[in-house]
Symmetry: none
Subunit: 408 residues, 2 copies
Amino acid sequence: MKGIIMIIDGMADRPLGELEFRTPLEAANIPNMDKLAKIGICGIMDPISPGIRAGSDTSHISILGYNPYEVYTGRGPFEAAGVGVNVEAGDIAFRCNFSTADETGTIVDRRAGRIREGTDEIAQVINSLKIDEDVKIIFKESTGHRAVLVLRGEGLSDKVSDADPKHDGKHPKKVVPLDDEANSKKTAKILNKIVERSYEMLKDHPINIKRIKEGKNPANIILPRGAGAVPKVQPFADKYGMKAVCIAETGLIKGIGRITGMEVPDVKGATGGVDTNLKNITNAIMDASSQDYEFILINIDGADEAGHDGNLDEKLEFIERVDEEIEELMKIDDCYFILTADHSTPISVMDHTGDPVPLVISGPEVRVDDVDQFNERATARGGLCRIRGSDVMSILMDLMNKSTKFGA
Amino acid sequence: MKGIIMIIDGMADRPLGELEFRTPLEAANIPNMDKLAKIGICGIMDPISPGIRAGSDTSHISILGYNPYEVYTGRGPFEAAGVGVNVEAGDIAFRCNFSTADETGTIVDRRAGRIREGTDEIAQVINSLKIDEDVKIIFKESTGHRAVLVLRGEGLSDKVSDADPKHDGKHPKKVVPLDDEANSKKTAKILNKIVERSYEMLKDHPINIKRIKEGKNPANIILPRGAGAVPKVQPFADKYGMKAVCIAETGLIKGIGRITGMEVPDVKGATGGVDTNLKNITNAIMDASSQDYEFILINIDGADEAGHDGNLDEKLEFIERVDEEIEELMKIDDCYFILTADHSTPISVMDHTGDPVPLVISGPEVRVDDVDQFNERATARGGLCRIRGSDVMSILMDLMNKSTKFGA
């Protein structure tokens, strides 16, 4: 038996006037999701607990059975792992922007002309930077103007402020320690030096000289933000005794897969947007299901993007396109298949809300209920009633007959 | 007012192909349970939390409002209390087998020819054993080849391994400390001496000489397992201000009644199997309800046995027989009556699973819902939605108007 959890990011929503007070899931044509609801047991799920507005990261952490209040210190560690840095517990990780500073030190473009090429070469310069004898600096480009910075060594802390001023026209913010610990002071000092040195080292970099010639903003300064300490996490395979693979699009969710020790294949054409190549994602899932993985975590991100953009048509269309792929995925034999979302991203709110999300479990011997539609309200009448993200793995492990009895 | 919780052990199940995908409760003819559902408020309950495979012991502990993760260290303490040893907090208790060893020390029969008689006389020999000046050894026979061992004294620990090799044809396992503490080392040493001395003291015991003459395997060695420290438990009467009685069949549940300070009468003919004398159990309940008890805990075990045996017909028949008794129990006046199970023991799994169990509360002023069948799926649509075992006593105390307000 395999366990598959398919998370359609931000898919859940609220009733919308323009849909005659139906939600996108209620209005969309989703025969395959409805069929799953019909053959499975349904319910609603609070990713963390009722009303808590989960991030995609904290929700996935919770659904995988880790306590986000213990594990999650910030987005940095997951982003860093997501771009392929082999982070270690205790590392301090940051998200960074390649930005453009002028000669006075003012940030004139936080996104360095939305640079797309050459960031790997620029990143190599910062990656070799030495500030403190005992601290290793790891720096790697991500997509576009984004990058990650990891500090490794003794006496560091994630209790430091951001260098990113968040708006153009300002100087980089001086990083300050957020508590009185020596570790925080030391880390803030190192970060300020990295920001300062990055300008010196990058302003005349060949890539930037070329960009300036072409009238583009150079990527001549690094602005870290979102410090987080890489958590000590029990590998998924140890925790559950299952070999696991994570099929995801974004660095954030890939990072969660990597930090929990899953295999994380790259899927060609998986953009994390509504323009993603769903066929390739389906093929990657079908491929994984034919291998010896016992657990497959899937995250598809487009519905969340459409929700953040407040774009109803795109959200409806994307949900219907995902539904078409589910027809193929339902052919996977000998599995428990769980379909859900990691949070609601209502069109009307354009951000995550704390509304519960629909969830269905199909597979052998589940107590099939009489719900035959997959949406927020129909599943609320299902046999699972209302569960939490942290219950999902326990329920799955029990169904898969992989959990140990507590007591006699 | 009285509060009555009737727990039909392992009654809940999963849909079965041979019942046209109904559960035994859905297929059985249970007019009285259905009537309770109709006049009461229904829901499903996770004995511990969703997906967690509860033992009967940990589930009962949870339903009584104690935290099994704090209270439960192993089965030994409850079994010991169940056979009537007056255990004290801090005692280290073990389940034991009377077994047969040959002259080379090999265990040739872990169950000593399933000995049924004379174990009380054999037990007395071990009960008087002295190994360490400061440690009292209490040893008492249970049913058949089973017994309990309790060590009382300073400097003991339950972090020790089993002596029982679990299979015939092996030597007793050397008991080893499971941590580096001096207490664990001392306890392991004592246990190894008990095993060794038990053979010396029992091999020529008159009961065994007689058994050998009759061609039966002698009970000439004691094999302890399942160490547990007797927990410090607030007596039920202190915790809830109610005089309580526990009507149960098995030593395990009787032990929970005793450790929480309840009265635990013996019920004649209560075997804990499908052959139990349900009439006598009903009489014992009716008798208790006419006395000054304010709380009655009932456990009936046969459905769990049938589940463990994978015997569908026996499970169906037993549930129907219990249903007949409920007709009588519904005549008890002035009470809140809660009917539930402690866990599912599906016919298809033949062991406990983490599926939730149905639960109904009948009594004055409950918010009666429109559920009129008592089974896993019908009650999931009830007014209680999905609760946990640890919620039950709080709900009952509130209905009985016995709880104090938290706040103003």
